[in-house]
């Protein structure tokens, strides 16, 4: 590893004091692919390039006025040009010490897909850029597994925002120090986390829809089951069909802040509210940083933020068998008090 330069120390000072030199060096050597400049991924671009990670931005789409209205890396003069190219310039400007490249490639074959995913430590994919093709997402995840890259998938619906994460067998080597320079160092303790693949996530959808998961996760599950055989149905005009589908599979989750399944469906096809993207993009970036630095336990494996309630939930999907009930730790008692 090359030594961190004085310039880098000056700029990264506040985060070096948070995660240390070794973690920063790992970030500086990492390569992350952001595939799909949409929703929370836009926010992740900002957070990750500022952290010092080398980014590749990929999106085959051209810039529309709605993109410029949401994605602050784009300007009116970019309309009609390639999204990734235009955004990369301004993402780079935010951190001249970082490296940002772009691509507008599309996976035209399985070999091409593999080629496009090669060489990255982490791949963050937006579902809308994949044309809402859940099967394609699962295929990408399995390619990432074979390449040893972490895979994260994001999808948003208005005030809801979701990501799935697959870090395979992730070994956490250390935890962040608590208490600053006066507290002294702690003994590192390694721990392994096993992630299910996105394929097994998809396979668990029927179980998810009938199970005890939060309503917001069920909504994502419903989208997956509705589009399973035909991603072409991912258009707002099929909202009524979606509602019918929900009735058919007997799952009509009451998501706080949403009125009915038709409205919920429509929200998948507009950019989320920027502050919703800001929150989920922040959580997503933390996971990418944990994955690269091998510091702190990652969230396994599904996270959903609902701006109506202000809560972000973490669930393991498919669900794991419940652990035997143990006495409540004091921490949980406090959490109970805090809980709504």
């Amino acid at each position: 590893m090359s030594a961190i330069t004085g310039d880098q120390v000056a700029v990264y000072d506040r985060q070096l004091r948070l995660w240390g030199v070794q973690a920063q060096q790992r970030l500086l050597n990492a390569k992350v692919l952001i595939w799909g400049l949409e929703g929370s991924n836009v926010e992740a671009c900002k957070n990750l390039v500022l952290a010092g990670i080398a980014l590749t931005l990929r999106d085959h789409r051209t810039v529309t006025a709605a993109d410029v209205g949401f994605n602050y890396f784009l300007r009116p003069e970019d309309i009609g040009k390639l999204r990734a190219e235009c955004a990369s310039k301004r993402v780079q400007e935010m951190n001249p010490l970082g490296s940002v490249s772009f691509s507008s490639d599309r996976p035209t074959s399985d070999d091409k897909l593999k080629e496009l995913l090669k060489g990255f430590d982490i791949v963050v994919v937006g579902l809308s850029c994949l044309g809402f093709d859940f099967e394609l997402a699962a295929k990408m995840d399995s390619v990432c597994r074979s390449l040893g890259a972490g895979f994260l998938l994001t999808v948003a619906a208005g005030e809801l925002s979701f990501f799935f994460s697959d870090l395979h067998e992730h070994v956490m080597q250390d935890r962040s120090a608590q208490g600053g320079p006066e507290a002294g160092p702690t003994e590192p303790k390694a721990e392994t986390f096993s992630f299910p693949s996105f394929g097994s996530w998809l396979a668990a959808v029927p179980e998810l829809l009938q199970g005890k998961s939060d309503a917001s996760f069920k909504l994502i599950g419903l989208l997956a089951s509705f589009l399973q055989k035909d991603p072409q149905k991912a258009v707002p005009s099929r909202a009524a069909d979606f509602a019918t589908h929900c009735r058919e599979v007997k799952c009509e989750p009451a998501v706080d802040g949403l009125v009915g399944m038709e409205q919920a469906f429509g929200h998948f096809f507009v950019e989320p509210l920027i502050h919703v993207a800001s929150v989920l993009g922040g959580l997503l970036s933390q996971e990418v940083i944990k994955a690269i630095t091998r510091k702190d336990p990652p969230l396994v494996n599904s996270v959903c933020f609902n701006a109506h309630t202000g809560a972000a939930l973490v669930e393991h999907i498919p669900p794991v068998a419940a652990a035997p009930k143990k006495r409540k730790a004091e921490e949980e008692v406090v959490a109970d008090l805090l809980d709504d």
């Binding site: 006025a65 709605a66 300007r75 208005g158 502050h275 939930l313 805090l338």
Partner: protein, 648 residues
């Protein structure tokens, strides 16, 4: 893979009105859905792109927001007048979120200028902006996202009178993005006085918190005591340091004493004559001055300290003097296995390195900084000042056998640096907008019925499956001295020795968070913030800031009224003399406690009897408080770990 759409060659029409709401999307005239579900205009060629204007982008952005939040909420967003206090880490994220959510009327106040160390997270700033005002650059940057937004920036301190009650009165909601307790307390009071809802947020490292404050309905920022800046007993700093932080506090005072304006309250004021004698001389050999100051502080003064026998015991051995020549011989650097991963500045220097560094820093001050002597003050970002403080503190640690620090760690402690990253600030700023929308919807309604919550940012593990955890807003604390009974009890050691200016500065400003307090006793003014120091002008007004409390006729049990006009805040104080007030527990010399209304009324009822009753009641109260405090301590301790949220 064939199903991926062609790059769409058409621009998207600006869409206004409600038509964009996706439920009705199919009905829109000359639009069609592409297979990604985006609306595309049919038959409009790329030529038109040239004509694309900012207004179109705004319309498209607004339409997307409206599609999610609905007409009613969007109208509220567009008309709301917001004040954002702070344009740092949270502030940059917040301004971006607000402007892109459709907020149009925003003013932003920040007193800071941009520093290189901000650039890892304050993403609206670039290297060329270093040293420019944060508020101005941030406002310019977000205006590019929505040119029609009306954003007014103020480069100034929110505690300045121009940002008083009248100013606050212009806004519908105040949104804080602050990094320090003092300013937060000030804005809290302004918002209570002006009856404006306040959104409060903070982050430190990976942790953060957001909450909502509305007068009479929720806890205010000061309903629960917040850990304030730690003050150390004079004796610990001056004679018996035990931790690095004590030596760093000493070294910061030393820097200000040597190179700053005269200040009677400097903890090392007794060393002033010795330290400042070089200042008067026309030309000073900086090296020579450095070695003399070295000899005085780390050798002679330590020898004198060591002779004060009653300070030392077997548990606390006397300090060891260090002479410059011996220090230079000590070139050994403490090293550990972990050093291989460290930056040079994270390694502890040798004693010789500290000695040379100290003399070099003094030489620099008398050399290239000659002009600034007498007007400098310590800043962690000033490399010379930081070198001076680091080396001086380390040499003192050597005297007192305390493990010395690297420059990196010394800077963290001396500058109270809060680690900070973009991701946490993005989360916190996003959550603030979430709460802002709830607050706007609850105007004229009961806050209890709204979805507004305190939200905690957990890290790294979720708490009960929640990585962002909402909790209900608490009702106000009736005994709060800011939003509740507005009565407090102040105990001090001696009415005879305590000057009224010390009470105003140390207690009422320092501990009670006033900005410019005026003090009244028996209806007449005994301290006016316009005349904080003794002098002819003060005397002409009949004011004597240097008079003791007993000179003003105050006795134990006397009542004082405090008024801070700028904050729109007032409080009644009961003064009590407690000769055996513990110096270790109350190093500032004042013990402040909230005083519930019922006790207060009894004191008011009869002066003398009141005092007795007060003592009695206070005793009972103290016991009850102690019990209650203990009961909640465990759960509070854990919460507090997350509450100390201080990034900008």
């Amino acid at each position: 893979m064939e199903r991926h759409v062609e790059n769409n060659r058409f621009r998207q029409e600006p869409v206004g009105g409600s038509g964009f709401c996706t439920r009705k999307a199919g009905e829109i005239g000359n639009f069609r859905q592409d297979s990604l579900g985006k609306l595309v205009a049919v038959g409009v060629k790329t030529l038109v792109l040239q004509a694309m204007t900012c207004a179109d982008v705004t319309a498209a952005g607004d339409a997307a927001v409206k599609a999610v939040v609905g007409e009613e909420r969007f109208a509220m967003i567009q008309s709301a007048k917001l004040l954002v206090v702070g344009a740092g880490g949270i502030g940059c994220e917040l301004l971006k979120n607000l402007v892109l959510s459709g907020f149009r009327e925003i003013e932003v106040v920040d007193l800071d200028t941009i520093d290189v160390s901000n650039l890892n997270r304050q993403f609206l700033f670039r290297r060329v902006h270093v040293d420019r005002p944060k508020s101005v650059v941030a406002a310019e940057a977000v205006k590019q996202f929505r040119p029609n937004a009306n954003i007014i920036s103020h480069h100034g301190n929110v505690k300045d009178p121009q940002f008083g009650l009248e100013f606050i009165g212009k806004f519908d909601v105040v949104v804080n993005a602050l990094d320090n307790l003092e300013a937060r307390r000030h804005v809290n009071r302004l918002c209570l006085a002006a009856e404006k809802p306040l959104l409060e947020a903070g982050s430190t490292g990976h942790l953060g918190q957001v909450t909502v404050i509305r007068k009479g309905e929720t806890e205010c920022f000061e309903c629960q005591a917040k850990p304030s800046q730690k003050v150390y007993p004079y004796c610990t700093i001056r004679s018996t340091p035990e931790k690095p932080v004590h030596c760093l506090t000493w070294a910061k005072n030393l820097f200000d004493l040597c190179f700053g304006p005269e200040d009677e309250s400097n903890l090392l004021a007794d060393l002033a004559a010795e330290m400042r004698k070089f200042q008067a001389q026309e030309s000073v050999d900086g090296e020579d001055a450095g070695r003399r100051i070295f000899a005085h502080l780390f050798e002679e003064d330590i020898k004198k300290q060591a002779q004060l026998e009653d300070l030392w015991s077997d548990q606390r051995p006397p300090p060891g003097p260090l002479c410059y020549e011996d220090a230079l011989k000590n070139t050994e650097r403490p090293s550990t296995d972990a050093d291989k991963d460290k930056l040079e500045t994270q390694k502890v220097p040798s004693v010789a390195g500290d000695a040379q560094g100290f003399v070099a820093a003094v030489a620099k001050m008398y050399g290239e900084r000659r002009e600034l002597i007498g007007q400098s003050s310590f800043s962690k970002d000033d490399p010379v000042a930081m070198d001076f403080v680091h080396c001086a503190a380390n040499l003192r640690m050597q005297n007192y056998r305390i493990g010395r620090l690297s420059r990196w760690d010394a800077q963290s402690i001396a500058g109270s640096i809060i680690p900070a990253v973009a991701s946490t600030n993005a989360i916190v700023a996003g959550l603030e907008v979430v709460q802002l929308l709830h607050v706007l919807q609850s105007v004229g309604k009961n806050m209890k019925d709204s979805k507004a919550r305190t939200v905690w940012v957990r890290f790294p593990e979720p708490s009960r499956k929640k990585i962002l955890q909402p909790s209900s807003l608490h009702t106000p604390n009736p005994d709060c001295f800011v939003c509740g009974s507005r009565t407090a009890r102040v105990a001090l050691r001696s009415l005879e020795e305590c000057k009224i200016m010390a009470l105003a500065k140390g207690c009422i400003q320092g501990q009670l968070g006033a900005h410019k307090p005026a003090l009244y006793a028996n209806g007449s003014c005994i301290f006016d913030p316009e005349y904080p120091e003794p002098g002819e002008e003060a005397e002409e007004e009949g004011l004597h800031p240097e008079w003791s409390l007993s000179q003003w006729g105050l006795t134990s049990g006397s009542l004082l009224q405090v008024e801070d006009e700028g904050q729109g805040w007032s409080i009644n104080l009961v003064i009590r003399e407690e000769p055996d007030l513990d110096e270790q527990l109350y190093p500032g010399g004042f013990k402040v406690s909230q005083w519930p209304t019922q006790w207060w009324l009894q004191v008011e009822a009869g002066a003398g009897a009141g005092e007795e009753a007060a003592k009695d009641m206070a005793e009972k109260k103290r016991k009850a408080e102690a019990d209650a405090a203990e009961a909640t301590a465990a759960k509070k301790a854990q919460l507090d770990a997350n509450t100390v949220a201080l990034d900008d």
